[in-house]
């Protein structure tokens, strides 16, 4: 009861704080003046667009236009200090008088900076903090990076951009997305997907939001669109995420959307056309799988003569397609002196690369930001997205046309005798998903004085998706030929409330101090209804009431999480920064005996390059060197209601039939990850080289395992805090400015990440499997591969026995990285490219197992010198190939891959071409995404996660026959009026 009261009090405080900010009186009627000016680059004198101008002690702000100009009207008369910041440049400040008459002018010249110490970060910091003060690693992705590679969803956007992050796509099918992981697997019970905030509001990040269709999961990330994003901040867990408490062990991604800039109305129109081309590198097609049929042809009319030729490229010619893509965007933004706005709409349609795949998107968005006084601003954002996906069965489903063709089962499952008829039967089912998503954010910001500032956010994310799967009579389904209709509906609502206030005193001098108090909470409600109707008398597209049997199930979960945090930041000589903080967390998922979880953090950063001795000794080579160290705890709360002992009833012959459900655990607590990280950021050689290095050591204690109760109790499994998991590793990101003249700029960047993951303790629990082949056991990485491997038992050199053994690797890469380069010519043509890679892992090829049922040994067909293991008896006599289930190790493949991810070009069309049309600016762009793959195995795309178990933790690395994400060609024209 104590916990409940505390949680209520926290929630109420956040709500009240938000309300308080909105009721603070605006101060009107004072004399005002204006400041205007221009921001240019130091070396080239070229105007800098997009620089942020802020006024100290005020919410006023401006952004420079394409000519580098800005205006700050309606400033209170007196002396003001303004600051300018732009990613990739050193910040500058000026203090100048503002009078009621003539405008004051403040021009700025910014120097390139290899590390942006003046960049503002807000995620996990409790307030707006300059990067120089950060003691833990936070990554920021800016507009320019986002614009460079037009992609569909947030996961694709993040791919290869953040050191320490792995992004594994699911497949080519619409509505599926990727698995995202930071710094290794820190948990075995729940999803590793980071928490995602949009404009301060926690949003649905579930990567398994519909019922299974064979392994490829529908994901809430697929409809988090990438238009209208201003910047993305990424914290990877540890101290940088501590203030998010029990929700942040997997890291936090925060997306900030555009809210318009003051100035005249700008209309942005974008037309994008393109096509998706299937990646067929891992498809063997009918030529390899059906050699006998290709040789003899088909007897399609049953007259005994095989008179119809069989196409060796049947799938390429009949199943795959190059799908048209179109995307139209219209945005209007602008604003007056105190109110800015941005409104946009987008329509998109893609045909996909397989039959029956399609994707349509319709989205609308409006944002408004208003200064209701010099001290207070408020903002509102509303976003609606409707997404429709068309998909096929896949993965391990026998109704999957692609797998069935590729493993030699199409005739067996359809009863047909030729490719065309088999395909016609296979594509009978319809799997359609519709997602409606509405997001609303309201925020307020108060700068009461130089001493106190506060901000508050209240918002919600409402997402509802309905997957309707209809297999008509005659379709290939588990329940042969009778027809089956399934409707899976999931409703998700999350409400977030957040309030933080910072007292800053002293603000100047040798020592500065900022003390922040914050209250934050969210509530998630998820409701799932799943209805299956089977056996229909008549063909057509029936409704449920026409089914012979209807089974409906419902699932509901509710979570409340609330916390209060305190943080003290101290600056010494503006070069030594110390911070300490603590968050107290209450959560409805904790057991009755667990009241509050405490998450402390400590950090220190030293901008050593600001010291005179350093400048004297190394100043000619090293422009900036910042050393940083941080310790912090983060948590991951348990699955809702698993604290309770419960019973669950099933309908059985007209009665409600209960059985044991969850055993119950009053001690259920979050798992807590303690992270120590240290590193440096260095800028070298006239700010041409910037390198960030971080070492981290994270230990997850009280790790939550579904510990099997002894089966003799009949009680199933119970989530318990028993394990310990360790992740240690390094992250490097580096950027090199190779050329920077007024005609040519050439940048190159890379990221590198290595992680060593190990389950260090099971806490007395028995080892257990996550999937049939992925195991959790002490001394091994989470989900280490453990499969039947033939061996020689009597030393005669012949494989005569088979046992379960660890392969030594896991499905997660131990090393990964990316490369990026960008060349800008004549300030108007930018060519860029990126690539990423991963190594140190193994992947499991389920499709090839399936093929063995038809005596097709796919690996032998595509690897010339490979032979499937042969079984001998103990006397040395050959028995034949091992059965697939006693030789599973033969299907485990090296996972190394390298992908040329993106090539793009953007050309700012010279103004002379379109000026007479009233166009301010026009940009032509083109890009190719998923350009080319190199992989150690020719059998499957090792990056993919085509066979998810559908449970909480998904490690990826298991695929049946899964189509890689397509090669996406995009051509666009953007005009700003």
């Amino acid at each position: 009861m104590q916990r409940s009261k505390l949680a209520r009090a926290l929630w109420a405080s956040a709500f009240a704080g938000a309300l308080l900010l909105l009721t603070v009186a605006p101060a009107w009627g004072q004399a005002t003046g204006r400041i205007q000016g221009r921001v240019v680059e130091e070396r080239t004198g070229r105007p800098l667009e997009g620089a942020q101008i802020t006024v100290e002690g005020s919410v006023r702000r401006a952004v420079t236009d394409a000519d580098g100009r800005y205006t700050l009207p309606n400033l209170r008369v007196g002396t003001v200090t303004i600051r300018v910041r732009l990613i990739g440049y050193s910040g500058r400040g000026q203090t100048l008088p503002v009078s009621a008459g003539l405008p004051a002018t403040a021009n700025f010249t910014l120097a390139r900076s290899a590390i942006s110490l003046d960049e503002i970060v807000v995620t996990g910091t409790g307030r707006e903090v300059e990067r120089r003060r950060l003691t833990a690693s936070v990554h920021v992705i800016n507009t320019q990076e986002i614009e460079r590679a037009p992609v569909q969803d947030i996961a694709q956007l993040l791919q290869g951009k953040v050191a320490g992050m792995t992004v594994n796509a699911t497949s080519a099918q619409a509505g599926t997305s990727s698995l995202i992981n930071f710094r290794g697997i820190s948990s075995v019970f729940g999803s590793q997907t980071p928490v995602i905030y949009v404009d301060g509001v926690r949003v649905d990040n579930n990567v398994s939001t519909a019922s299974g269709t064979g392994g490829e999961q529908s994901s809430a990330l697929a409809d988090l669109l990438t238009s209208d994003i201003e910047r993305i901040e990424v914290t990877k867990g540890g101290a940088a995420s501590t203030l998010y408490g029990s929700d942040a062990a997997s890291g936090v991604i925060q997306i900030f959307t555009k809210k318009g800039t003051p100035g005249r109305t700008r209309i942005t129109a974008r037309i994008e056309q393109g096509f998706d081309s299937p990646e067929l590198k891992y498809m063997f097609d009918t030529g390899l799988i059906y050699p006998d049929d290709i040789e003899t042809g088909f007897d399609t009319n049953g007259d005994g003569t095989f008179d119809t030729p069989a196409d060796p490229d049947f799938l390429k010619n009949n199943f795959f397609q190059s799908g048209h893509f179109q995307n139209y965007y219209l945005g209007v933004s602008g604003g007056g002196e105190s109110i800015t706005y941005a409104v946009s709409g987008r329509i998109q349609e893609a045909a996909g690369v397989q039959l029956k795949n399609q994707n349509e998107v319709f989205s609308m968005r409006g944002a408004i930001q208003a200064e209701i006084s010099n001290k207070t601003s408020v903002n509102f954002t509303a976003n609606y997205t409707r997404t429709e996906f068309g998909r096929l069965f896949n993965g391990s489903a026998i109704a999957d046309p692609l797998t069935s063709f590729e493993v030699g089962d199409v005739f067996f499952f359809t009863g047909e005798n030729n490719f065309d008829d088999a395909l016609t039967t296979f594509i009978l089912p319809d799997i359609d998903e519709v997602v409606n998503r509405f997001r609303f954010t309201s925020g307020a910001s108060l700068i009461a004085s130089d001493l106190f500032r506060a901000r508050a956010t209240v918002g919600l994310d409402y997402r509802t998706n309905q997957q309707r799967e209809f297999a008509p009579i005659g379709a290939v389904i588990i329940s042969a030929g009778e027809g089956r209709l399934q409707r899976y509906q999931r409703d998700f609502t999350s409400v977030t409330g957040d309030f933080a206030g910072t007292f800053s005193y002293p603000r100047t001098g040798i020592l500065t101090s900022d003390f922040t108090v914050g209250v934050q909470g969210f509530r998630d409600d998820v409701s799932i209804v799943n209805v299956i109707g089977t056996t229909f008398a008549l063909p057509g597209a029936p409704d449920f009431d026409e089914a012979a049997t209807i089974v409906a199930t419902e699932g509901n979960t509710e979570i409340f999480s609330g916390g209060v945090y305190f943080q003290e930041e101290i600056g010494l000589w503006d070069r030594v920064f110390l911070n300490g903080g603590v968050r107290f967390d209450a959560n409805s998922t904790f057991g009755d005996k667990v009241d509050v979880e405490v998450y402390p953090k400590l950090g220190a950063a030293y901008l050593i390059s600001d010291e005179n001795f350093f400048q004297t000794a190394l100043g000619s080579v090293v422009n900036t060197l910042k050393l940083r160290f941080a310790f912090g705890k983060t948590g991951k709360f348990p699955t809702p209601f698993l604290r309770d002992r419960s019973f669950n009833a099933t309908q059985f012959r007209g009665e409600s039939a209960p059985r044991f459900d969850n055993p119950g655990n009053a001690d259920l607590a979050p798992e807590v990850t303690s992270t120590i990280e240290g590193g440096f950021d260095i800028a070298l050689i006239d700010n041409r080289v910037g390198i960030g290095f971080t070492y981290f050591d994270a230990t997850t204690r009280d790790a939550l395992f579904f510990v099997p109760e002894q089966p003799s109790t009949g009680l199933g499994t119970q989530l318990r805090n028993v394990g310990e998991i360790s992740n240690t590793g390094i992250e490097i990101d580096a950027n090199f400015q190779i050329l920077n003249t007024d005609k040519v700029r050439w940048d190159f960047g890379l990221t590198y990440h290595a992680v060593d993951n190990e389950v260090t303790s099971l806490g007395g629990a028995a080892p257990f499997n996550i999937t049939a082949q992925q195991r959790v056991d002490e001394g091994h990485p989470v989900g280490a591969w453990r499969l039947f491997t033939p061996f020689d038992s009597n030393g005669d050199g012949k494989l005569d026995d088979s046992e379960l053994t660890f392969s030594g690797k896991s499905p997660m890469p131990t090393k990964s990285g990316s490369f990026f380069t960008s060349v800008t010519l004549f300030n108007n043509l930018t060519l860029s490219g990126s690539a990423d890679w991963a190594t140190g892992h193994e992947v499991f090829d389920f499709g090839s197992i399936w093929a063995t049922f038809n005596n097709i040994f796919r690996r032998e067909l595509v690897e010339e010198d490979y032979e499937f293991p042969i079984r001998f008896d103990t006397d040395g006599n050959e028995i034949g190939p091992w059965s697939q289930n006693r030789a599973r190790s033969a299907f485990l493949l090296k996972g190394d891959w390298f992908k040329l991810r993106n090539i793009s070009a953007r050309w700012s069309i010279p103004a002379s071409v379109y000026q007479f049309l009233g166009v301010d600016r026009a940009t032509l762009y083109g890009s190719v995404h998923n350009v080319k793959i190199w992989s150690a195995t020719p059998l499957i795309d090792p990056e993919l996660n085509g066979l998810s178990a559908g449970g909480s933790l998904q490690l990826g690395g298991r695929s049946s026959v899964t189509l890689s994400p397509p090669r996406q060609f995009r051509f666009g024209l953007e005009a700003v009026f």
Binding site: W11, F15, F641, A649, T650, R653, A657, R659, P711, G714
Partner: protein, 485 residues
């Protein structure tokens, strides 16, 4: 000095704001309407259960459902025995090779009877004592399931633990506990005959000829056509055997060709599995007579069983099963094919049905034996009599999970139990499969020649198929019976 009036003017909005916020905060703390911290578990918790009016009666349907789940696990036993072999992906092919069965292969075959036992114990030990007015029939039924759970665990497993951290209890002890529980349930009342039939089965396994005969005779005296069905629910807990036999496109369970005429026994999702029937009682009586060398009486009981079995209902069914081996070659599926049980037997017709097509199969029990041929077996040909007896048990109790027990095979507990229970280590009693030495190597019980009597075009190459091993001959020669033949 500022007057109070000017303070109000200057800070009025702020003060009002603070007041409003404070009121809101108090309201939010006090009022559940605004309380987002309140969550409600949609499952039945212990608190909810305590509020049930008739808790024992409320849990009986749960026991029935659990018993249904347990009974349908018979498919494991069927594929492990010679009755069925596996040709598809839904069931692990290793089950066809009994000696290769390891602890990680058994899942719900172990978990379900254990959960039935545990749930029944929970009802009897924790719910009934709290129930102000439990119905006697409910308590009897709960105790019956408790006994049946022990019985099925004892039939299928070498040894299993029956309490938290418990050491493995050997099969024979489990059957003794089953007998104790069934006796405690009582042989009168609503569930009396079911209890008697279960006792006859349990005493038989315990080798107690007298008690087995007593209960078997009592069942037959009360109802000569006695039949106990465990029905399923077409929508929720379905007959799993039917799914593997027919519903799944892969049709992974394929019968031994000489038993083809008995398949498909279950023709719908809710088709019952028969837990006990009068035929079994006759066969227990026959076995008891054989054990005391009373061959005439035993032979008569065997004939009684056959005469009853052939009167049981049949059903016409449109079966699209193509009878495919794992390599997609065709298994015998034409009525013209004759089968012999091994190379030294004679070919018999009528054992294979023509499929795909409309077939008529028994839904309760049937047999290929006829009374006349049994009556023609001289008393001194004990092996022939015993062979007929084992064949009758195999055919009449087909697809009910009993053949594996008759063959003497017992499987290990699951890896999860071994790993989670500190009192059990790998290699302990109950952790390794037990396969009697008379069971042939590999999957030879399931094999026959030719493996496909058809060529690539589907034309028959022979109409005679020979089983590799006649397991009924093996059982007869080894006199495998708890009564000691």
């Amino acid at each position: 000095m500022m007057s109070s009036r000017s303070i109000t003017e200057r800070y009025g909005r702020t003060v009002r704001g603070i007041a409003l916020a404070a009121v809101t905060a108090m309201a939010a703390v006090g009022c559940s309407f605004l309380d987002p911290t309140d969550v409600d578990n949609p499952a039945t918790t212990e608190d909810d259960l305590a509020e049930a009016k008739n808790p024992t009666a409320s849990l009986i349907p749960g026991l029935r459902a659990m018993f249904a789940r347990t009974v349908s696990r018979a498919y494991f036993a069927e594929v492990i025995s010679d009755n069925y072999s596996i040709h598809g992906t839904g069931i692990n092919k290793t089950y066809d090779t009994p000696r290769e069965i390891t602890e990680e292969l058994l899942g719900s075959m172990y978990d379900f009877p254990q959960e039935l036992r545990s749930l029944a114990a929970f009802v009897l030990n924790e719910i009934v004592p709290l129930d102000e007015n439990p119905e006697a029939a409910d308590v009897q039924e709960a105790r019956y399931y408790h006994g049946m759970a022990y019985l099925m665990l004892g039939e299928w497993f070498v040894a299993v633990p029956v309490e938290v951290d418990g050491t493995p209890v050997p099969s024979a002890t489990l059957i003794q506990t089953a007998i104790t529980e069934l006796e405690a349930a009582g042989t009168s009342g609503t569930f009396g005959l079911e209890v008697r039939a279960a006792l006859a089965r349990a005493y038989r396994l315990a080798g107690d000829v007298g008690n087995a005969e007593t209960h078997a005779s009592a069942v037959l005296a009360a109802d000569a056509n006695f039949l106990q069905a465990r029905d399923f629910d077409g929508a929720t807990i379905t007959n799993t055997l039917y799914e593997f036999l027919f519903l799944r496109a892969l049709k992974e369970m394929q019968p031994l060709p000489r038993l083809d005429f008995l398949d498909l026994k279950y023709t719908s999702r809710e088709a019952p599995v028969y837990v006990s029937k009068a035929e079994e009682m006759h066969l227990i009586l026959a076995e008891a007579d054989f054990s005391r060398d009373a061959f005439a009486a035993g032979r008569q009981h065997l004939v009684d069983a056959i005469r009853l079995a052939v009167t049981r209902p049949t059903e016409a069914f449109d079966d699209d099963d193509q009878r495919l081996n794992l390599d997609l070659s065709e298994r015998p599926h034409d009525a013209i094919i004759d089968i012999r049980a091994d190379a030294s037997s004679t070919f018999r017709s009528g054992l294979v049905l023509t499929r795909p097509g409309t077939i008529t199969t028994p839904t309760v029990a049937s047999t290929s034996l006829d009374p006349d041929s049994i009556l023609a077996i001289p008393f001194n040909e004990t092996e022939s009599l015993l062979h007929a007896f084992f064949l009758a048990r195999q055919e009449m109790l087909f697809l009910e999970g009993r053949r594996m027990v008759d063959l003497g095979i017992k499987v290990p507990m699951t890896l999860e139990e071994i790993e989670a229970n500190p009192s059990i280590n790998a290699g302990d009693l109950g952790t390794v499969v037990f396969v009697p030495s008379y069971i042939p190597a590999l999957d030879n019980m399931d094999l026959f020649t030719p493996a496909s009597p058809y060529d690539d075009t589907g034309a028959l190459t022979t109409t005679q198929v020979t089983m590799m091993v006649d397991m009924n001959r093996v059982l007869a020669q080894n006199k495998v019976s708890p009564f000691g033949l």
